[in-house]
C-alpha cells in the first residue's frame, strides 16, 4: 500500500469517527426507549401540535428568509454591479457590513434598536407622546427581520460575483438578436445566473434553518426546531430531542437535495468573457436618488453597529425611560480589561477559534492534496465527509457530539469528552472543516498541475515545491477559508450553548449571561469587541486574498 493510501484511509477513518459516528448514534438513540427499540419519540413528534408547529415554523421561516433575502439582495447586486453613480464603491462595500456581526451580536443589536425598549421604539413613543411602547419585537416577524438583515448579503455577494463573471458578449448577442431589456434579463441573464442564485438560496436556507440566536432571543412563543431541541433537552426528554434532531437533519438534507435537483452547475459561457461595463445612470435625478438612497440604506445597515457602540458606553442601570441614554462612561470597557473573570471568555474564544482554524486548514490541505493527487477510494470519500458538517445544522452536531462523547466505552470508540475543555474545540473544529476545505479544495483545483511539474523539472523536491509554489498560490484560498472559519468560531453560540464548560465558556455565552444580569453595557462592549475583531479579520483576509488573487 502506498503512503498516500494509508494516509487517506487514516484520515477518512478519523473523520468517520468524529463526524458520521456521532450522527448515527443520535439516530440510534432516537429509536431507543427505556424498554428497547421504539418509535415512541417519533410518534409524539408527529402527534403533538407543538412539535408540528416547530417543524412547520422552521420550514416556512427558512423559505421566507430565502425569499426576503433574494428580494433585497438581487436588485442591490444589479444596482451596484451594473450602474454607476457617485459613492458606488464605498457604498458597495458598506452593503456587506452585516457579515461582521456574529449572529448573537446582531440579534442583541436589533433588540436594543428595534425592540420594545429600543431606540426606534422610544423615538416613536416620544414623538407620539404615548407611554406604552408602539410595538413588540417578537415572534416570526422579528426573526424574519433579523434573517433578512443578515442573510441578504449572501444573495448580494453571490449575484454580484455571478454578474461579474457573466460574459458581456452574451448580453450584446441577445441585444443584436433583437431582444429588449426584459427578454435579455429573463431569458439570458437570470438563467446564466442560475448557479449563483441557487448557491445563495441554498446557503440562506441552510443558515436560516440552523439559525439559533434570533429565535432564541426573539422567538417568544414561536418555536423553531433548533430552539425546540435545546428546550426539550433541557426538560430532560432526551429521546424526543434525538428524534427532533433527526428530523431537523432530514429537513436540511431535503433542502440540499432540492437545490441539487434544480440543475447542474453550468459554466457561464466559456469564461473568456469580459464583464459588462457599468452604465452611468443617465438622469441626474435618478443618479442623486441612487446616491441618497444608497447612503440611507447604508445608514440603516449601520444602525445596529452604532447601537451596539452607543450601548457599550452606557453605565449599568442608568438608562430607564429617556429616549437616549442620559449618561456615558468607559467603565464597561474598563471592566472587561481589568477583571480577569471578564477577560477569560475573550481569551477562550480567541484561542479556540485560532486553534481550530489552523487545525481545520491543515486537515483541509492534507485532504485536498490527497484527493487532488491520488485517486484511491478512501481519498474520494474525504470530500463529502468534510462537507457533511455544513449540511447538518449546528444544533444537530452539538447534540450528536454530546451524545457520542458522554459515555466511556473505548472499545466502541466512545470517550468522555463532554465536560472537559476539549469538547468545545472539537465541535468548533468539525464545524470549521467544511468552510476551510471548501476554500482549500477550490484553490487546489485551480492550480495548474503543470506548475508542480515545472518546479520538479527545475529540481525542486516535494517539500520545496509545496512551500515555494503551492502555498503562495493557495494564499487567497487559505485566507478566505481561514477568515470564514475564524469568524464563525469566534461568534458561535449554537454549539457552545450545548457543549460549553465553565473553563471554556466563550464570548457568546458571556454576552448572554451579562444580558441576563441586566449588564447591557458590558454585553454591548463584548459585542463591539467581537464586531471589531471580526471586521479586522475580514479586512485582513480579503486583503490577503487580493494580493495574489
Amino acid at each position: 500500500m502506498s503512503r498516500h493510501r494509508v494516509l487517506a484511509l487514516l484520515l477518512s477513518g478519523l473523520l468517520v469517527w468524529l463526524i458520521v459516528y456521532p450522527l448515527l448514534l443520535v439516530a440510534r438513540e432516537s429509536l431507543l426507549g427505556p424498554a428497547g427499540p421504539t418509535l415512541d419519540h417519533f410518534r409524539s413528534l408527529l402527534t403533538e401540535p407543538r412539535e408540528w408547529g416547530a417543524l412547520w415554523g422552521s420550514l416556512w421561516i427558512s423559505l421566507a428568509s430565502v425569499g426576503l433575502s433574494a428580494a433585497l439582495g438581487i436588485p442591490l447586486a444589479f444596482l451596484f454591479e451594473r450602474a454607476d453613480f457617485p459613492g458606488r464603491r464605498l457604498l458597495g462595500a458598506l452593503v456587506a457590513l452585516p457579515v461582521v456581526l456574529p449572529p448573537l451580536v446582531g440579534v442583541i443589536a436589533f433588540l436594543f434598536l428595534y425592540g420594545e425598549t429600543g431606540f426606534a421604539a422610544r423615538l416613536v413613543q416620544a414623538v407620539l407622546g404615548r407611554d406604552t411602547p408602539p410595538w413588540r419585537l417578537e415572534g416570526a416577524w422579528a426573526i424574519l427581520l433579523v434573517h433578512a438583515y443578515s442573510m441578504y448579503v449572501y444573495f448580494y455577494l453571490f449575484t454580484r460575483a455571478g454578474l461579474a463573471r457573466l460574459d458581456h458578449a452574451m448580453l450584446e448577442a441577445a441585444a443584436s438578436l433583437g431582444a429588449g431589456r426584459w427578454r435579455t434579463l429573463t431569458r439570458v441573464t437570470l438563467p446564466l445566473l442560475g448557479p449563483s442564485l441557487r448557491g445563495a438560496a441554498l446557503l440562506t436556507f441552510m443558515t436560516a434553518l440552523a439559525s439559533f440566536s434570533a429565535p432564541y432571543i426573539f422567538g417568544g412563543g414561536f418555536r423553531v426546531m433548533p430552539t425546540q431541541i435545546v428546550l426539550t433537552r433541557l426538560n430532560g426528554d432526551y429521546g424526543l430531542a434525538m428524534a427532533q434532531t433527526v428530523v431537523l437533519s432530514v429537513l436540511a438534507l431535503a433542502g440540499l437535495g432540492l437545490a441539487r435537483e434544480g440543475g447542474h452547475v453550468r459554466a457561464a459561457g466559456g469564461g473568456k468573457g469580459v464583464a459588462a461595463p457599468r452604465r452611468r445612470i443617465a438622469s441626474v435625478g435618478l443618479r442623486r436618488l441612487a446616491t441618497v438612497g444608497g447612503w440611507c440604506f447604508a445608514l440603516l445597515l449601520l444602525l445596529p453597529h452604532l447601537t451596539l457602540l452607543l450601548l457599550s458606553f452606557v453605565p449599568a442601570g442608568s438608562w430607564t425611560v429617556e429616549a437616549l441614554p442620559p449618561a456615558y462612561t468607559i467603565a464597561n470597557y474598563r471592566a472587561l480589561l481589568v477583571e480577569p473573570e471578564r477577560w477569560r471568555p475573550f481569551l477562550n474564544s480567541v484561542w479556540m477559534a485560532s486553534l481550530t482554524t489552523v487545525v481545520a486548514l491543515g486537515t483541509a490541505l492534507l485532504a485536498g492534496t490527497l484527493v487532488v493527487r491520488t485517486r484511491t477510494r478512501a481519498a474520494r470519500l474525504l470530500e463529502p465527509l468534510l462537507a457533511l458538517p455544513w449540511l447538518v445544522p449546528g444544533t444537530v452536531f452539538a447534540i450528536a457530539l454530546a451524545t457520542a462523547f458522554s459515555v466511556r466505552a473505548p472499545w466502541i470508540g466512545r470517550f468522555i469528552l463532554v465536560g472537559t475543555i476539549w469538547i468545545l474545540p472539537l465541535a468548533y473544529l468539525i464545524r470549521n472543516l467544511p468552510l476551510a476545505s471548501r476554500a482549500v479544495f477550490a484553490g487546489l483545483r485551480g492550480l495548474d498541475p503543470a506548475l508542480g511539474e515545472a518546479a520538479a523539472s527545475l529540481g525542486a523536491g516535494r517539500f520545496r515545491s509545496f512551500w515555494r509554489i503551492t502555498m503562495p498560490l493557495l494564499r487567497p484560498a487559505l485566507a478566505a477559508g481561514a477568515t470564514l472559519a475564524f469568524v464563525t468560531a469566534l461568534g458561535d453560540l449554537v454549539t457552545s450553548i450545548i457543549l460549553y464548560t465553565y473553563d471554556t465558556r466563550p464570548l457568546s455565552l458571556e454576552i448572554l449571561a451579562s444580558l441576563r444580569q441586566d449588564d447591557v453595557g458590558v454585553a454591548a462592549a463584548y459585542g463591539v469587541f467581537l464586531m471589531i475583531l471580526s471586521g479586522l479579520v475580514f479586512a485582513l483576509g480579503s486583503e490577503r486574498a487580493m494580493v495574489t488573487g
Partner: protein
C-alpha cells in the same frame, strides 16, 4: 447609392485610442474586411456598427436611414462574436431561434427557419444538441446561423477565424466566403490577418491608430499602397533607403547604393531620396559582378523548394530575397539584380518619397 455608409464616425478613448472620422461606403451584398494591427480600432468600429458603443459623432447609414441613434436590438444587424457568445443554457435550436423569436415568430414557422439556417451552415439535425457538446468549428457555424437566421440587414463578424486551428481555419474561411456569397448579405469582417482580409473581403480597409489608412480592393492595396504603413503591413518585404532620379534616356531610375535600376513611369513621380520596400520576389541572387547591388548572404531560411535569403548589402542595409534552395550558402558574396524590369512592376517594390522632416 451605397447600402452601408459611414460618415466621419468618431469614438475617442484617448488622443490616439479609439476611432477617428472613419468614412466609407459599401455596396449592397459586398463584403468589407477591416484590417489593422492590435489596438487600431477594428473592434471599436464593429461595436459602433453593432450599436454596442455610441459614437461621439458621425453617422451610420443603411439604405439611406441613419441607424446611429438606434440601439442594437432595433438595428437589425447580425453579429458573430469573437468567442461566439452562444447561450450555454439553450440548445442549438433555441440559440438559432432566439433572434427569430424577437421578430415574433413561433411554432412551425420558427422551426422551419431554424432548420433552414442550420442547413445553411451544414448543421442540419443539430437542433437539440447542447452548446458544450460542439467542437470549436461547429460552435462558430452555430454562431453564424444564429446571426443570419433573422435575415439581418448587415452581418458583422469579429475575428471569426481566430479561435480555430490552422487546418480548420483554412477550410472554414472557404466555407464562410461561399456562405456569405450565397446569402448575398452585406458584411463587415474584422481581422488582423492579411490572408483572411484579402480572401474574404471584396474591399479591404486598413486602420492604424484609429485612422483609416486606405480602402480598396485587395489588388489595389497590394499594388498601390497609399503609404509606407500599408505597404509594410500587407505582405513580407524589407526596407532600404535609395534615391529616385531621372534616367538619362528619359523615364525614372532608382539608385540603391551601387545599383541603378529602372522604375516604371508612374504619374506624380518625384526625384529625391526615398524609402524603398522590396518584396522578397522583387530581386534575385546573381553571381558577384559589377553594376548590381553587392552583398553577402547572412542567413537563409528554408521554405520548401525556395529559401528566404537575408542579404547584408555593402551600405549596411538588409534585404530579404527569395531564391532557389541551392542558390547560395551563408557567407557567400552575391549581387542582387531585379527579377524583372522595371523593378517596381506588379507591386513587388514600392517607392515612398522621404517626407521632409
Amino acid at each position: 447609392m451605397s447600402y452601408l455608409v459611414l460618415q466621419e464616425l468618431t469614438r475617442r478613448y484617448g488622443p490616439e485610442q479609439g476611432l477617428f472620422e472613419l468614412s466609407f461606403a459599401l455596396e449592397r451584398g459586398r463584403t468589407l474586411s477591416l484590417l489593422g494591427p492590435s489596438g487600431s480600432g477594428k473592434t471599436t468600429t464593429l461595436r459602433l456598427l453593432g450599436g454596442f458603443e455610441r459614437p461621439d459623432r458621425g453617422h451610420i447609414l443603411v439604405a439611406g436611414e441613419d441607424v446611429a441613434p438606434l440601439g442594437p436590438a432595433a438595428r437589425r444587424f447580425g453579429m458573430v462574436f469573437q468567442h461566439y457568445a452562444l447561450f450555454p443554457h439553450l440548445d442549438v435550436g433555441r440559440n438559432v431561434g432566439f433572434g427569430l423569436e424577437s421578430l415574433g415568430l413561433g411554432g412551425a414557422e420558427l422551426e422551419r427557419r431554424v432548420r433552414e439556417a442550420l442547413s445553411l451552415v451544414d448543421l442540419a439535425g443539430f437542433e437539440r444538441r447542447r452548446i458544450a457538446e460542439l467542437s470549436g468549428g461547429q460552435q462558430q457555424r452555430v454562431a453564424l446561423a444564429r446571426a443570419v437566421a433573422p435575415e439581418p440587414r448587415v452581418l458583422l463578424l469579429d475575428e471569426p477565424l481566430s479561435n480555430l486551428d490552422p487546418g480548420l481555419r483554412e477550410r472554414t474561411r472557404r466555407e464562410l466566403r461561399a456562405l456569405i456569397q450565397r446569402i448575398g448579405i452585406t458584411t463587415v469582417i474584422v481581422t488582423h490577418e492579411q490572408d483572411d482580409a484579402f480572401d474574404l473581403g471584396d474591399v479591404v480597409a486598413v486602420l492604424r491608430q484609429g485612422r483609416l489608412q486606405q480602402i480598396g480592393t485587395p489588388e489595389t492595396l497590394y499594388r498601390t499602397p497609399a503609404n509606407p504603413f500599408v505597404a509594410g503591413f500587407l505582405g513580407r518585404g524589407s526596407w532600404i533607403d535609395g534615391t529616385v532620379v531621372r534616367a538619362p534616356a528619359g523615364g525614372w531610375e532608382v539608385v540603391v547604393e551601387s545599383a541603378r535600376w529602372p522604375l516604371a513611369d508612374l504619374p506624380g513621380r518625384q526625384p529625391g531620396p526615398a524609402r524603398l520596400l522590396f518584396r522578397p520576389g522583387a530581386l534575385r541572387l546573381a553571381d558577384p559582378h559589377p553594376g548590381g547591388l553587392a552583398g553577402v548572404v547572412v542567413d537563409r531560411r528554408f521554405a520548401g523548394a525556395d529559401c528566404y535569403y537575408q542579404v547584408g548589402t555593402g551600405g549596411g542595409g538588409m534585404l530579404e530575397v527569395l531564391g532557389r534552395a541551392g542558390a547560395a550558402l551563408a557567407g557567400q558574396a552575391v549581387t542582387l539584380v531585379p527579377a524583372a524590369e522595371p523593378v517596381d512592376q506588379d507591386g513587388v517594390m514600392h517607392v515612398f518619397p522621404d517626407e521632409p522632416a
